[in-house]
Protein backbone atom coordinates (compact mmCIF):
# COMPACT_ATOMS: atom_id res chain seq x y z
CA UNK A 1 0.00 0.00 0.00
CA UNK A 2 1.35 3.43 -0.95
CA UNK A 3 0.13 4.61 2.44
CA UNK A 4 3.13 3.03 4.14
CA UNK A 5 5.46 5.04 1.91
CA UNK A 6 3.69 8.30 2.48
CA UNK A 7 3.41 7.98 6.26
CA UNK A 8 6.51 6.77 8.02
CA UNK A 9 4.70 6.43 11.36
CA UNK A 10 2.58 3.58 9.94
CA UNK A 11 3.48 -0.08 10.27
CA UNK A 12 1.66 -3.08 8.89
CA UNK A 13 1.31 -5.85 11.47
CA UNK A 14 -0.62 -8.69 9.86
CA UNK A 15 -3.85 -7.03 8.76
CA UNK A 16 -3.49 -4.11 11.13
CA UNK A 17 -2.12 -0.76 10.08
CA UNK A 18 -0.57 0.46 13.33
CA UNK A 19 0.31 4.05 14.20
CA UNK A 20 3.77 4.03 15.77
CA UNK A 21 5.27 4.40 18.22
CA UNK A 22 2.97 2.35 20.40
CA UNK A 23 3.07 3.66 23.96
CA UNK A 24 0.22 3.62 26.45
CA UNK A 25 -2.25 4.31 23.67
CA UNK A 26 -2.61 1.82 20.85
CA UNK A 27 -4.05 3.19 17.58
CA UNK A 28 -4.55 1.12 14.48
CA UNK A 29 -6.71 0.55 11.44
CA UNK A 30 -8.08 -2.94 11.06
CA UNK A 31 -8.40 -4.23 7.52
CA UNK A 32 -10.34 -7.43 7.89
CA UNK A 33 -11.51 -9.97 5.39
CA UNK A 34 -15.11 -10.97 4.96
CA UNK A 35 -16.70 -14.26 4.00
CA UNK A 36 -16.51 -13.10 0.37
CA UNK A 37 -12.90 -13.58 -0.73
CA UNK A 38 -12.75 -10.20 -2.45
CA UNK A 39 -14.55 -8.19 0.21
CA UNK A 40 -13.20 -6.61 3.35
CA UNK A 41 -14.10 -4.24 6.15
CA UNK A 42 -12.05 -1.40 7.53
CA UNK A 43 -12.29 0.35 10.87
CA UNK A 44 -10.21 2.57 13.07
CA UNK A 45 -9.52 1.36 16.60
CA UNK A 46 -8.03 2.90 19.71
CA UNK A 47 -7.32 1.34 23.07
CA UNK A 48 -4.87 1.38 25.97
CA UNK A 49 -2.04 -1.11 25.96
CA UNK A 50 -2.17 -1.78 29.71
CA UNK A 51 -5.70 -3.15 29.46
CA UNK A 52 -6.01 -6.88 29.74
CA UNK A 53 -6.36 -8.08 26.16
CA UNK A 54 -5.61 -11.24 24.28
CA UNK A 55 -6.47 -10.13 20.79
CA UNK A 56 -6.70 -6.94 18.79
CA UNK A 57 -9.31 -4.71 20.43
CA UNK A 58 -11.61 -3.55 17.65
CA UNK A 59 -13.26 -0.78 19.63
CA UNK A 60 -12.71 2.88 20.29
CA UNK A 61 -12.85 3.98 16.67
CA UNK A 62 -15.23 4.08 13.80
CA UNK A 63 -15.98 2.18 10.63
CA UNK A 64 -14.51 3.43 7.38
CA UNK A 65 -17.28 2.71 4.96
CA UNK A 66 -19.13 4.37 2.11
CA UNK A 67 -22.87 4.46 1.54
CA UNK A 68 -23.20 1.58 -0.87
CA UNK A 69 -21.37 -1.70 -1.25
CA UNK A 70 -18.44 -3.28 0.52
CA UNK A 71 -14.77 -2.67 -0.10
CA UNK A 72 -13.72 -5.02 -2.84
CA UNK A 73 -10.22 -5.55 -4.19
CA UNK A 74 -11.64 -5.87 -7.71
CA UNK A 75 -12.68 -2.20 -7.80
CA UNK A 76 -9.42 -0.23 -8.04
CA UNK A 77 -11.14 3.15 -8.09
CA UNK A 78 -12.81 2.42 -4.77
CA UNK A 79 -9.46 1.53 -3.21
CA UNK A 80 -8.29 5.07 -3.98
CA UNK A 81 -11.31 6.33 -2.08
CA UNK A 82 -10.43 4.04 0.81
CA UNK A 83 -6.82 5.25 0.90
CA UNK A 84 -8.09 8.80 0.99
CA UNK A 85 -10.49 7.94 3.83
CA UNK A 86 -7.66 6.35 5.79
CA UNK A 87 -5.48 9.41 5.27
CA UNK A 88 -8.28 11.63 6.46
CA UNK A 89 -8.70 9.51 9.58
CA UNK A 90 -5.01 9.54 10.51
CA UNK A 91 -4.72 13.12 11.85
CA UNK A 92 -7.66 12.53 14.17
CA UNK A 93 -5.99 9.37 15.47
CA UNK A 94 -2.56 10.95 15.73
CA UNK A 95 -3.91 13.59 18.08
CA UNK A 96 -4.72 10.91 20.68
CA UNK A 97 -1.38 10.13 22.27
CA UNK A 98 -1.78 10.18 26.06
CA UNK A 99 -4.12 8.42 28.45
CA UNK A 100 -5.88 11.73 29.13
CA UNK A 101 -6.33 12.43 25.44
CA UNK A 102 -7.71 8.94 24.98
CA UNK A 103 -10.25 9.48 27.76
CA UNK A 104 -11.25 12.89 26.42
CA UNK A 105 -11.59 11.53 22.91
CA UNK A 106 -13.72 8.58 23.97
CA UNK A 107 -15.91 10.71 26.22
CA UNK A 108 -16.55 13.32 23.54
CA UNK A 109 -16.95 10.93 20.65
CA UNK A 110 -20.43 10.65 19.26
CA UNK A 111 -20.95 7.06 20.23
CA UNK A 112 -19.22 7.34 23.61
CA UNK A 113 -22.04 5.49 25.35
CA UNK A 114 -21.17 2.31 23.54
CA UNK A 115 -17.42 2.23 24.13
CA UNK A 116 -16.38 -0.94 25.86
CA UNK A 117 -13.08 0.58 26.94
CA UNK A 118 -14.88 3.12 29.07
CA UNK A 119 -17.07 0.78 31.01
CA UNK A 120 -16.37 0.75 34.77
CA UNK A 121 -13.59 -1.80 34.43
CA UNK A 122 -11.72 0.34 31.91
CA UNK A 123 -12.41 3.56 33.81
CA UNK A 124 -11.09 1.98 37.01
CA UNK A 125 -7.89 0.86 35.28
CA UNK A 126 -7.44 4.37 33.88
CA UNK A 127 -7.88 5.85 37.36
CA UNK A 128 -5.33 3.36 38.71
CA UNK A 129 -2.91 4.23 35.92
CA UNK A 130 -3.30 7.88 36.85
CA UNK A 131 -2.55 7.02 40.48
CA UNK A 132 -6.00 8.01 41.69
CA UNK A 133 -6.81 4.92 43.75
CA UNK A 134 -9.70 6.60 45.58
CA UNK A 135 -11.43 7.28 42.29
CA UNK A 136 -10.74 3.75 41.05
CA UNK A 137 -12.38 2.32 44.18
CA UNK A 138 -15.36 4.63 43.82
CA UNK A 139 -15.84 3.29 40.29
CA UNK A 140 -15.29 -0.39 41.04
CA UNK A 141 -17.32 -0.79 44.23
CA UNK A 142 -20.69 0.37 42.88
CA UNK A 143 -20.09 -1.58 39.67
CA UNK A 144 -19.51 -4.75 41.67
CA UNK A 145 -22.54 -4.00 43.84
CA UNK A 146 -24.74 -3.57 40.77
CA UNK A 147 -23.16 -6.68 39.25
CA UNK A 148 -22.04 -4.70 36.20
CA UNK A 149 -18.67 -6.17 37.09
CA UNK A 150 -19.64 -9.71 37.98
CA UNK A 151 -16.12 -11.00 38.50
CA UNK A 152 -13.36 -10.05 40.90
CA UNK A 153 -10.94 -7.89 38.96
CA UNK A 154 -7.32 -8.90 39.39
CA UNK A 155 -6.46 -5.46 40.69
CA UNK A 156 -9.23 -5.42 43.31
CA UNK A 157 -7.23 -6.86 46.21
CA UNK A 158 -4.25 -4.55 45.63
CA UNK A 159 -6.59 -1.62 45.20
CA UNK A 160 -8.25 -2.29 48.56
CA UNK A 161 -4.85 -2.47 50.18
CA UNK A 162 -3.63 0.63 48.36
CA UNK A 163 -0.63 -1.36 47.19
CA UNK A 164 0.73 0.93 44.48
CA UNK A 165 3.72 -1.24 43.68
CA UNK A 166 1.62 -4.35 43.08
CA UNK A 167 -0.81 -2.36 40.94
CA UNK A 168 2.00 -0.92 38.87
CA UNK A 169 3.42 -4.41 38.37
CA UNK A 170 0.04 -5.64 37.27
CA UNK A 171 -0.36 -2.85 34.69
CA UNK A 172 3.15 -3.41 33.39
CA UNK A 173 2.51 -7.11 33.17
CA UNK A 174 -0.72 -6.60 31.23
CA UNK A 175 0.99 -4.12 28.94
CA UNK A 176 3.90 -6.48 28.35
CA UNK A 177 1.51 -9.28 27.47
CA UNK A 178 -0.51 -7.08 25.10
CA UNK A 179 2.64 -6.07 23.24
CA UNK A 180 3.78 -9.68 23.08
CA UNK A 181 0.46 -11.15 21.96
CA UNK A 182 -0.06 -8.49 19.29
CA UNK A 183 3.58 -8.79 18.19
CA UNK A 184 4.24 -5.09 18.63
CA UNK A 185 7.62 -5.27 20.39
CA UNK A 186 9.38 -3.61 17.46
CA UNK A 187 7.18 -0.53 17.69
CA UNK A 188 6.72 -0.31 21.46
CA UNK A 189 8.23 2.53 23.45
CA UNK A 190 7.65 2.19 27.20
CA UNK A 191 6.19 5.32 28.73
CA UNK A 192 5.77 6.02 32.46
CA UNK A 193 2.25 5.64 33.79
CA UNK A 194 0.91 8.35 36.13
CA UNK A 195 0.97 6.03 39.14
CA UNK A 196 4.78 5.77 38.89
CA UNK A 197 5.22 9.49 39.41
CA UNK A 198 2.95 10.02 42.41
Amino acid sequence: MPLLERHDDLALVGRMLVLTPVRNVLRFICIDRESNVYGFEVRTCMDLTFFNMRDWPLSGGWRLAVDRGRWDIRYPKSLEVLRQMIEEALPEMRRVTTIDEFVTYQTNSIKSLYRSSLRPDGLALIAIANGDLEKALSIVEPAIASREINWTPKYYKHLKQGDRIALLDLLHEQQRRTIEVLKLAKYFEPEPIGIEKG
Binding site: S35, D67, R68, R70, K77, I110
Partner: protein, 217 residues
Amino acid sequence: MASLLPVTTQEDVERLVEPILDRHKDLMLIGRHLVIKPVRHVLRFIRLGNTLFDDLFNVTSVIDLTFLRYCNWATNGGRSLYNNGWGPWNIFDPEEVERLRRTIEETLPELRRVNTIDDFVAYRSNEPPPHNTFSFDFKLMAYIAIAKGDLDEAIGVVEAAIAKGWVEHLPKYYELLKKHDRTALVTFLRKQQAGSIETLGLTDYWQQEPFPLELRE
Protein backbone atom coordinates in the same frame (compact mmCIF):
# COMPACT_ATOMS: atom_id res chain seq x y z
CA MET B 1 -20.68 -27.59 0.62
CA ALA B 2 -21.25 -29.15 -2.76
CA SER B 3 -23.49 -27.03 -4.92
CA LEU B 4 -26.54 -28.56 -6.53
CA LEU B 5 -26.11 -26.64 -9.77
CA PRO B 6 -22.99 -25.73 -11.74
CA VAL B 7 -21.64 -22.30 -10.86
CA THR B 8 -22.90 -19.74 -13.35
CA THR B 9 -20.23 -17.98 -15.36
CA GLN B 10 -20.26 -14.59 -17.00
CA GLU B 11 -20.88 -16.38 -20.30
CA ASP B 12 -24.01 -18.00 -18.90
CA VAL B 13 -25.25 -14.58 -17.87
CA GLU B 14 -24.47 -13.13 -21.31
CA ARG B 15 -26.35 -15.96 -23.01
CA LEU B 16 -29.29 -15.36 -20.67
CA VAL B 17 -29.62 -11.66 -21.45
CA GLU B 18 -28.72 -11.71 -25.14
CA PRO B 19 -32.31 -11.82 -26.45
CA ILE B 20 -33.34 -9.19 -23.89
CA LEU B 21 -30.58 -6.84 -25.05
CA ASP B 22 -31.73 -7.36 -28.64
CA ARG B 23 -35.28 -6.40 -27.83
CA HIS B 24 -34.55 -3.46 -25.50
CA LYS B 25 -32.09 -0.92 -26.83
CA ASP B 26 -31.97 1.08 -23.59
CA LEU B 27 -30.29 -1.79 -21.72
CA MET B 28 -26.66 -2.77 -21.31
CA LEU B 29 -24.87 -5.46 -19.38
CA ILE B 30 -22.05 -4.49 -17.02
CA GLY B 31 -20.68 -7.61 -15.38
CA ARG B 32 -23.78 -9.16 -13.87
CA HIS B 33 -25.82 -6.00 -13.90
CA LEU B 34 -28.42 -5.25 -16.52
CA VAL B 35 -28.50 -1.45 -16.41
CA ILE B 36 -31.16 0.86 -17.89
CA LYS B 37 -29.77 3.85 -19.79
CA PRO B 38 -29.40 6.71 -19.32
CA VAL B 39 -27.88 6.80 -15.86
CA ARG B 40 -28.56 10.15 -14.16
CA HIS B 41 -29.27 10.80 -10.49
CA VAL B 42 -31.24 7.56 -10.50
CA LEU B 43 -29.56 4.25 -11.24
CA ARG B 44 -31.81 1.35 -12.30
CA PHE B 45 -30.52 -2.14 -12.80
CA ILE B 46 -31.25 -5.83 -12.43
CA ARG B 47 -28.65 -7.86 -10.58
CA LEU B 48 -28.26 -11.33 -12.06
CA GLY B 49 -26.87 -13.77 -9.53
CA ASN B 50 -26.15 -13.42 -5.85
CA THR B 51 -22.85 -11.93 -4.77
CA LEU B 52 -21.80 -14.54 -2.26
CA PHE B 53 -23.02 -17.82 -3.64
CA ASP B 54 -23.09 -17.66 -7.38
CA ASP B 55 -24.50 -21.14 -7.74
CA LEU B 56 -27.75 -19.83 -6.31
CA PHE B 57 -28.96 -17.63 -9.10
CA ASN B 58 -30.99 -14.89 -7.46
CA VAL B 59 -32.29 -11.96 -9.44
CA THR B 60 -32.94 -8.55 -7.89
CA SER B 61 -34.24 -5.33 -9.36
CA VAL B 62 -32.62 -2.27 -7.83
CA ILE B 63 -33.28 1.45 -7.99
CA ASP B 64 -30.75 3.64 -6.21
CA LEU B 65 -29.14 7.09 -6.31
CA THR B 66 -25.81 7.72 -8.02
CA PHE B 67 -24.77 10.63 -5.82
CA LEU B 68 -24.28 8.31 -2.86
CA ARG B 69 -20.76 7.02 -2.46
CA TYR B 70 -20.30 3.54 -3.92
CA CYS B 71 -17.33 1.24 -3.57
CA ASN B 72 -19.04 -1.68 -5.23
CA TRP B 73 -22.40 -2.64 -6.72
CA ALA B 74 -24.95 -2.90 -3.95
CA THR B 75 -28.53 -4.07 -3.88
CA ASN B 76 -29.82 -1.82 -1.10
CA GLY B 77 -33.56 -1.47 -1.41
CA GLY B 78 -33.65 -4.15 -4.09
CA ARG B 79 -36.71 -6.25 -4.85
CA SER B 80 -36.17 -9.92 -5.53
CA LEU B 81 -37.58 -11.45 -8.67
CA TYR B 82 -38.29 -14.92 -7.40
CA ASN B 83 -38.76 -18.07 -9.35
CA ASN B 84 -42.44 -19.05 -9.02
CA GLY B 85 -42.79 -16.72 -6.07
CA TRP B 86 -39.83 -18.10 -4.14
CA GLY B 87 -36.27 -19.24 -4.40
CA PRO B 88 -33.43 -19.01 -6.90
CA TRP B 89 -33.45 -19.77 -10.63
CA ASN B 90 -31.87 -22.65 -12.46
CA ILE B 91 -30.55 -21.03 -15.60
CA PHE B 92 -29.55 -24.38 -17.05
CA ASP B 93 -33.19 -25.32 -17.51
CA PRO B 94 -34.43 -23.83 -20.83
CA GLU B 95 -37.97 -23.52 -19.57
CA GLU B 96 -36.90 -21.61 -16.46
CA VAL B 97 -34.66 -19.38 -18.53
CA GLU B 98 -37.63 -18.37 -20.67
CA ARG B 99 -39.68 -17.67 -17.57
CA LEU B 100 -36.85 -15.61 -16.08
CA ARG B 101 -36.48 -13.57 -19.27
CA ARG B 102 -40.21 -12.86 -19.23
CA THR B 103 -40.09 -11.87 -15.56
CA ILE B 104 -37.21 -9.48 -16.21
CA GLU B 105 -38.98 -7.88 -19.15
CA GLU B 106 -42.15 -7.46 -17.12
CA THR B 107 -40.16 -5.61 -14.46
CA LEU B 108 -38.54 -3.14 -16.86
CA PRO B 109 -41.49 -0.73 -17.29
CA GLU B 110 -41.72 -0.12 -13.54
CA LEU B 111 -37.97 0.62 -13.39
CA ARG B 112 -38.16 2.91 -16.44
CA ARG B 113 -40.84 5.00 -14.79
CA VAL B 114 -38.44 6.07 -12.01
CA ASN B 115 -36.46 8.98 -13.42
CA THR B 116 -36.13 11.68 -10.78
CA ILE B 117 -35.23 11.84 -7.11
CA ASP B 118 -38.92 12.39 -6.35
CA ASP B 119 -39.88 9.31 -8.39
CA PHE B 120 -37.29 7.36 -6.38
CA VAL B 121 -38.73 8.54 -3.06
CA ALA B 122 -42.23 7.61 -4.21
CA TYR B 123 -41.03 4.18 -5.42
CA ARG B 124 -39.28 3.37 -2.16
CA SER B 125 -41.86 4.87 0.18
CA ASN B 126 -44.65 2.38 -0.36
CA GLU B 127 -42.85 -0.86 0.24
CA PRO B 128 -44.54 -3.64 2.16
CA PRO B 129 -42.85 -5.04 5.28
CA PRO B 130 -40.17 -6.29 5.78
CA HIS B 131 -38.78 -4.11 2.99
CA ASN B 132 -40.16 -0.85 4.36
CA THR B 133 -36.78 0.17 5.75
CA PHE B 134 -36.47 3.17 3.46
CA SER B 135 -37.10 5.87 6.03
CA PHE B 136 -34.77 4.22 8.59
CA ASP B 137 -31.78 4.75 6.33
CA PHE B 138 -30.86 8.12 7.81
CA LYS B 139 -27.85 8.54 5.53
CA LEU B 140 -30.05 8.13 2.48
CA MET B 141 -32.67 10.46 3.96
CA ALA B 142 -30.03 13.12 4.65
CA TYR B 143 -28.56 12.85 1.14
CA ILE B 144 -31.99 13.16 -0.47
CA ALA B 145 -32.79 16.24 1.62
CA ILE B 146 -29.45 17.83 0.70
CA ALA B 147 -29.82 17.05 -3.01
CA LYS B 148 -33.28 18.60 -2.96
CA GLY B 149 -31.99 21.67 -1.14
CA ASP B 150 -33.89 21.04 2.11
CA LEU B 151 -30.83 21.72 4.24
CA ASP B 152 -32.65 22.24 7.54
CA GLU B 153 -34.43 18.94 7.08
CA ALA B 154 -31.07 17.25 6.39
CA ILE B 155 -29.58 18.73 9.59
CA GLY B 156 -32.61 17.46 11.50
CA VAL B 157 -32.14 13.95 10.09
CA VAL B 158 -28.45 13.81 11.00
CA GLU B 159 -28.97 15.26 14.46
CA ALA B 160 -31.77 12.84 15.25
CA ALA B 161 -29.50 9.97 14.18
CA ILE B 162 -26.69 11.27 16.40
CA ALA B 163 -29.09 11.50 19.34
CA LYS B 164 -30.13 7.88 18.75
CA GLY B 165 -26.50 6.72 18.76
CA TRP B 166 -26.59 5.60 15.12
CA VAL B 167 -23.68 7.77 14.06
CA GLU B 168 -20.17 6.50 14.69
CA HIS B 169 -18.36 9.33 13.04
CA LEU B 170 -19.60 12.65 11.66
CA PRO B 171 -20.31 12.58 7.94
CA LYS B 172 -17.97 14.64 5.78
CA TYR B 173 -20.71 16.98 4.59
CA TYR B 174 -21.88 17.85 8.11
CA GLU B 175 -19.77 21.02 8.48
CA LEU B 176 -20.90 22.31 5.08
CA LEU B 177 -24.48 21.50 5.96
CA LYS B 178 -24.29 23.44 9.25
CA LYS B 179 -22.94 26.44 7.33
CA HIS B 180 -25.67 26.11 4.68
CA ASP B 181 -22.88 26.29 2.14
CA ARG B 182 -24.87 25.32 -0.95
CA THR B 183 -22.03 25.77 -3.41
CA ALA B 184 -19.71 23.51 -1.42
CA LEU B 185 -22.47 20.92 -0.97
CA VAL B 186 -23.11 20.84 -4.72
CA THR B 187 -19.38 20.37 -5.32
CA PHE B 188 -19.32 17.62 -2.71
CA LEU B 189 -22.26 15.73 -4.24
CA ARG B 190 -20.90 16.17 -7.77
CA LYS B 191 -17.51 14.82 -6.78
CA GLN B 192 -19.03 11.89 -4.93
CA GLN B 193 -21.30 11.12 -7.88
CA ALA B 194 -18.44 11.25 -10.39
CA GLY B 195 -16.42 8.88 -8.18
CA SER B 196 -19.30 6.42 -7.90
CA ILE B 197 -19.97 6.49 -11.64
CA GLU B 198 -16.32 5.79 -12.31
CA THR B 199 -16.12 3.02 -9.70
CA LEU B 200 -19.11 1.23 -11.21
CA GLY B 201 -17.75 1.63 -14.76
CA LEU B 202 -20.74 3.72 -15.90
CA THR B 203 -18.82 6.73 -17.26
CA ASP B 204 -19.94 6.17 -20.86
CA TYR B 205 -23.60 5.89 -19.99
CA TRP B 206 -23.89 8.72 -17.52
CA GLN B 207 -25.71 11.96 -18.23
CA GLN B 208 -25.04 14.73 -15.78
CA GLU B 209 -28.11 16.63 -14.59
CA PRO B 210 -28.37 19.49 -12.10
CA PHE B 211 -29.35 18.88 -8.49
CA PRO B 212 -32.56 20.53 -7.28
CA LEU B 213 -30.22 22.07 -4.67
CA GLU B 214 -28.57 24.11 -7.43
CA LEU B 215 -31.81 25.28 -8.99
CA ARG B 216 -33.42 26.49 -5.75
CA GLU B 217 -31.60 29.48 -4.36
